[in-house]
Every structure is written in structure tokens, then in C-alpha cells.
Amino acid sequence: MSVPAPVVIFTHRKTLWQYRRLLLALAGRDIRARYRQSFLGVYWSVLNPLLQTAVYAVVLTKVLHVPSETVPFAVLYFSGVMYWNFFTTAVTGAMGSVTTQVNLLEKHRFPIAVLPLASIVARSLDFAISAVVLVVLCSWYGVALAPTAWAALPLLVVAGAAAVGAGLLTAGLHTLYRDVGHLVNLSFTLGFFLTPIIYDVVAFPPRYRFWLLLNPVAATIHGTRLALFAGTVPPLEDVLPGTLVAIAVLVIGVASFRRLQATFTEVL
């Protein structure tokens, strides 16, 4: 049966940009909700990665005797895991943001993309705190930041684009298939080892390096380490493939979310 397409005109529909206050309010609520009724509150976002780092540092350097060539292992690990934690928590948060807040979209008309974006913005705060902790960690270990440190800044955009793209993609698909949640968890478990977190890219077999660096998070971590510790501006051949993948993920994420969002209030 063919049905003529409906025509709906709202003369006062606002754009996503006009909802930035809602985005910040939701992000603030997300952060407060996470630390509600916890004594240490926001300090958890410092403690958590630090304890993780301590465990990995002890196991890998004292038990397995992994040599760390460039910087102390704790610094190497922390500089990687802060991006990894940002990416995984942002995607996980964004993925559940629509399915857990159906009550909002049924009752208010607003660009639904605000929900996943707000949860990604909320995780950026943790990342910003981690960045400060990294600087403190560096001075603790006597690691001087290289003058090329500025080159790490554009890589933040790459990590952000990858997180937004993957977050929108999974948020949209998760409303239709809850399998996406399991798939994402599995890929994070594998991805942790396929991302240069507990090792440096140099240690990876050169033959497969190109494939490793296709992962935007891997490219970001690698580039950041080069800029911060090695004193070299990351070469384009190392970061460009990952950047292109991040852009592709962003485009796919935005397109799929736009396509799927009309069905959200019906399937949820």
C-alpha cells in the first residue's frame, strides 16, 4: 500500500545550535548524577585512571619486566589510557543516552542528537581532568614536555570526531537492536589491546603499523606521544589515515542518526 508522504511544517523549529544551553544543562546533570551520593565525587575521575595506571605499571614493569624505552611506563600508559577512557566512556554513554531518556523525547520537541552529544560533552570533563593529571605525572617522573606539544591539540579534534561519530552511530542503532551494546563491549575489550596503550607504536610489527594507525584512537595516542615526548611533529603518514577514518565515522554517524531518529518515539 502506498501512502502519500506527510507534510509537516512548524514555523518555529529551532536548530541544534540554539539548543546549546540544553546540551550543557544535560551534560551538567549527567556529571552530577554520576557523582551523586558518592563521598569522593569528582575525584573518582582522577583516582580511577591513576589506580589503573599503578596496577598496569607494577604488573608490566615489575612482574613481566617490559622495558620502557622512551618515557617511564606510567607516563606512557597514562597518555594512552586517557584517550581510550574518553573514547569508550563517551561512546558507551552516548549509546545509552537515547534509550534511557525516552521520557524526554516523547514530551518535548528538541533535536534528539542533543542527548548523545550531551553525554559526550560530560565525558570531556573527565578527559580535561586527565590531561591535567598527565602534566602532574610528567613532572613527578621528571619528564619534560617537548616544545612540539602544541601539535597534540589538533589531535583532540580527531578523537572528538571519532567519539561523536561512533556515539551517534551506536546511539541510533541501539534503539533498534540491543545487540549493539554487546558488540560495542566486545570490540572495546579487543580494541584495548589493538590500540597502543600498554605499548608504544614502535613496538608494533612495522608490517601492520598502517593497519594499527587506521584506528583514530591509535593515531591520536601515537601522535600525542610523538608531540609531547619525542619532540617531533607527528608525520602526516602516521596521523592522516586515522583522521580520514574519524571523518568517515563522523559522516556515517550523523547520517545514520538523522535517518533513524524519526522512528525513535515509535520503537522505544
Partner: protein
């Protein structure tokens, strides 16, 4: 934006300026899958069984009406007659399957109790978030906040998590919030009956003031007396179709007579 032949154009001026909401042949079809496959294996099984058994269900069928700016429209009908779906379509949170809809003006909604309130947060906190949802400017909110809390009679409870609120308290806060700022169109679903008698009077008075100031109101309610007294016109929905439309009193009387009989 002119749709020739849809609305007759009075001579002079913008022909459609005074119509706040114009709906033509709106239809909403839901697919009733008795078991919606939400996992891959269910979906795959569905493919082998020749697709999931879906049954089209028209929650709204050929619904046409218009609301003049500054008037109040009541929507009555039994449970499941499509009232709430229609209001969601007007609010823009649900897309129609067929038909044409034009909504002119900014919209404030009050759909269900405590819509979008987070139970763990205080009333104050939730008001700030809802204000962002309703796009009430920060400055306006600061100016209106105390008056809003006073109207809702929640001065003592505004810093208490809303999970401790009673249904009446939620309704009062919701109503105060969605009417604190004058928007062009106000959509209200089934919430007026919750407050006590004194508060219902206050709500009615505020709604009348809004109507006089030119706000267009659409009310879905089982409270036929409220529809009778507040609304100019009403439509009676029956299984997704308009069974009667016209002056509120006439439609409500017909609906009451049919329900009694």
C-alpha cells in the same frame, strides 16, 4: 507556504495568519508487531518465517481540523481513541504517516506528569533543566522563578528531590513551568484533574488569561467539565476518527450522551 485551495483566503492581509494549527487528513499508522524482534536471532528467525507478523493499526485516520489563534480546542474521546497521539504530533514528537500539518508559533507543552523530571534531582534543579528543554531564556527564568514556585505552592519543597513529590505537586510544578512563559501555543495532556479543587481554579484562571492574551490552547482531557468551560471548540475522537466536531458544549454533550448510553 500557501496551499491553494486548502483554506479559503479572506480578502486582504495574510490569508492564513490567524490559523495557529491547520491539520488536513492526518493519519498515523503503527505497526502492531505482537513481538517486536529486538535481537538479531529473533530477526533472523523472522526472516525464515516469512517476515514478522505485523498488523497495521491506524491510531489516527483522516483527521482534519484547524484552530484559530487565541482559541481553545478540546479533544475528548475514550482511552485509545488517538487523543495523545494527536497531541504528540502537534507537539512534533511524533511524525504523522499521512496528511498535512502546519503549526504557526512557538509551542509550550505539558504532556503527562513530571515530563522529563529526573527523580533524583530537586524541584529547583529540574526546573532549570526543563527550562532549557522549553527554551526559556536564563534571564526570564531568574525573573519568573519565585513567582512560578509560589504559583505551584511549592516554596517549602522546591529543594527536595522530586521523587518525594506527590502527583499533585508534580502537576502543579509542571503547569506552573509550562505556563510561566507565554508561548504562542500551549498543548496540555490530561493533567488538570490531578490538582485539588483550589488549584484547578487557579489553573483555569491562568488559562483564561493566556487565552485572552492570544495564546492558542489545545487540551486533551477526560474532564469534560473543564473542556466545556474552557474550550471554544472540541473534537471527539473515536478509534482514530473524528466522530464529532464543533462548539465545545455540543460535542461534549454528544460524547457524554454516548458514554452514558
Amino acid at each position: 507556504m500557501n496551499a491553494p485551495g486548502v483554506l479559503s483566503s479572506p480578502p486582504g492581509g495574510d490569508p492564513e495568519a490567524d490559523v495557529a494549527i491547520a491539520a488536513h487528513h492526518l493519519g498515523k499508522r503503527f505497526s502492531l508487531r505482537h513481538e517486536r524482534p529486538t535481537t538479531l536471532s529473533q530477526e533472523l528467525l523472522g526472516v525464515f518465517r516469512g517476515g514478522p507478523a505485523t498488523e497495521p493499526f491506524w491510531a489516527l485516520d483522516d483527521v482534519s481540523f484547524s484552530v484559530i489563534r487565541g482559541r481553545a480546542l478540546g479533544i475528548v474521546g475514550r482511552n485509545g481513541s488517538g487523543k495523545s497521539s494527536l497531541l504528540k504530533i502537534l507537539a512534533g514528537t511524533l511524525a504523522p504517516t499521512t496528511g498535512t500539518l502546519v503549526v504557526r508559533g512557538t509551542i509550550s507543552t505539558m504532556l503527562q506528569l513530571g515530563a522529563g523530571f529526573h527523580p533524583e534531582f530537586t524541584g529547583r534543579n529540574n526546573v532549570h533543566l526543563s527550562a532549557a528543554l522549553l527554551d526559556i531564556p536564563e534571564a526570564t527564568l531568574r525573573r519568573e522563578f519565585d513567582g512560578m514556585v509560589a504559583f505551584a505552592e511549592l516554596e517549602r519543597f522546591i529543594d527536595v528531590p522530586v521523587k518525594y513529590y506527590s502527583a499533585g505537586m508534580l502537576a502543579r510544578l509542571g503547569f506552573a513551568l509550562s505556563t510561566a512563559v507565554r508561548e504562542d501555543i500551549l498543548l496540555i495532556d490530561e493533567v488538570l484533574g490531578v490538582g485539588d479543587l483550589a488549584f484547578q481554579r487557579k489553573c483555569e484562571a491562568r488559562m483564561r488569561a493566556l487565552l485572552t492574551s492570544g495564546v492558542t490552547v489545545v487540551i486533551v482531557s477526560h474532564d469534560v467539565e473543564a473542556v466545556r468551560s474552557l474550550c471554544d471548540e472540541a473534537i471527539w475522537l473515536d478509534r482514530g476518527r473524528i466522530r464529532a466536531a464543533g462548539p465545545a458544549e455540543v460535542v461534549v454533550d454528544a460524547y457524554c450522551a454516548a458514554s452514558a448510553g
